[in-house]
Symmetry: D2
Subunit: 194 residues, 4 copies
């Protein structure tokens, strides 16, 4: 009886992993990669790159920040101790599913006011964040679909947050392929005091 239950749980977990990956696969088909591609010259042309997101979007961007640091770029996460003022020449990469998270919109406004460029990641082109940005990458992860179903069966913004990780990891892979630095050189930059 208990064994059956454990089998049910295993089946539920397997189904949920499949669901998550299938939702991400379908989402990947709906992304405009020419739109995503525009982020590359923004990153390459920036003196320094700042990243900001709230909650789990913020954690996905922190994962991206580590990889950009491994590439040898000058990167800062908003809210960490040693993050300096943003200024002209810098890039702010800001993620918010709704594009309305007040602290993220506020950060984008301040970045624009300081003369920095903003690239937004959001589900909605018409959001305050996307409209503030020099360039917006739309991740259609949580919008309603035609027949009354939503894009995702997952809780809250999970699909958007997963997509931010997948997309920024793809951006990293593409930057790395352009950069051609051997993995060994990147590896030397990994934090070595923890």
């Amino acid at each position: 009886m208990l064994q059956t239950k454990s089998q049910d749980i295993a089946a539920s977990l397997q189904a949920n992993v499949a669901l998550i990956l299938e939702e991400n696969r379908k989402l990947a088909d709906r992304i405009q990669y020419s739109e995503v591609a525009t982020i590359i010259p923004f990153i390459q042309g920036a003196e320094r790159i700042f990243l900001v997101g709230a909650g789990r979007s913020g954690l996905a961007l922190q994962s991206a920040a580590m990889r950009l640091m491994h590439l040898g770029l000058s990167v800062f996460v908003v809210g960490e101790t040693i993050t300096p003022a943003i200024r002209e020449g810098d890039l702010l990469l800001a993620a918010s599913g709704s594009g309305t998270t007040s602290s993220i919109v506020k950060a984008a406004e301040k970045a624009v006011a300081a003369g920095a460029k903003v690239v937004a990641l959001s589900t909605t082109a018409a959001s305050p964040l996307a409209m503030l940005a020099a360039h917006a990458i739309i991740v259609p992860a949580a919008q309603k679909e035609d027949h009354g179903t939503t894009v995702s069966e997952q809780y809250a913004g999970s699909l958007f947050e997963q997509a931010i990780l997948v997309l920024t990891d793809a951006v990293f892979q593409t930057l790395w392929s352009l950069d051609k630095t051997p993995a060994e050189e990147l590896w030397k930059r990994h934090a070595n005091l923890e």
Copy 2:
């Protein structure tokens, strides 16, 4: 000419997204879900749940920690300000691809010494972390395959780190389906001061 380059970049990004999702899909087929299922009673039976990981594995676990908090569980991330001492009755969820990261192994040793239970997420069953743990979930994300190729073309531990996010999000979905609390109730627990 520049336009061609931009098209190349878009194609590279699309290919990299497909690569990441396909690597995760193949990995998902090799996971033992009965092994993963064992984590559910550990979580349900724990007084408090502590999570620890270094670098991007740690960030994936922080995403998991938020969701466990949304479920109403008592959760702490090792290294954050208000994380108290672990003790008997508590669970430590520890992730390390190699299973050898010294700070993570050390934390697991201390948790065991304090009488807490440890569940490990690692690529290798024979690693110090996995062997310390009451239960180890093996994510075969970076082991060598038969024909001289590796499991992943991605940089470093990226596949493992992505898999930790996917797997813990599946664990959350399963816990939530057992729990049956309406999304509205979970939503009320989301941080509201940021």
Copy 3:
């Protein structure tokens, strides 16, 4: 010559330590302790205590958060991973020298809207933060004095930030003396996985 320089530096450091401690001593004489005392019943009566501050004020409050956790209270730092929604019955302790830092004022507004109580630490009673708060503790650390000199020769808000640490450590000592739990019991709560 170089030795003289090293002696000069030693003298400068000693003078600066003396300056910092003397500025804090003078400030301590100008604090209304009956006003500070009001924080004690707010802390004792709160279900959970949330702390928020930007930059170095925030770090001083994080030091306070650790001590409140050591006392066995339920404490959260705004912005950390597992911090849930604030609600009625909770207390927000918010520090801002100017009382105008937008993210801190915003957090206080949201806390009030959620039915929580706010206690503010600020240099200025007439500031938005102090006026929002159920109770404000004024730390007169950076206001202009009569004869054209400022309260502090230190850079920026240093004196305020130091005062937050001193004051919250005094609050801890007083709470602990009321609580009478032996140091050994507090010690058992110290983080043991780092």
Copy 4:
């Protein structure tokens, strides 16, 4: 009756503030400032400065890290997202009251192995951390005194942690006086996206 209690609390708070400042003042008299002065050329000569401490010592060092960033130095806090590998030419500033905290000693060992210099802040010259360091600054904050009393009546390492903040703020003031950059220039570096 209740009012008397409130008066007692106010008196207790005032006495505790006085105690904290008096303990710091006495401690300041026992510090060897020529020993502290040696940190200045280490900081000035470092390519990049890394800071590491656990718990409240770590928070005090984070406050110091912010100020060093305001001075325009290249600074990293161990454990934050974008902290790269330490290497030859870099400085690790490590604080541990006991000088035995395992994660801090381990970080210092790794820094030395990587060819970086280590400056330690500790209460004990004979501690593993102090002995590993190229230079140790002894803060005699928690050692037993002659007549059976301790140096501090405060809980645990509070005096050491306060002293780290005071001492590093004095180091900042001295560095700033040598540097002569106007406050307005430092101010421009303060985080502007929060």
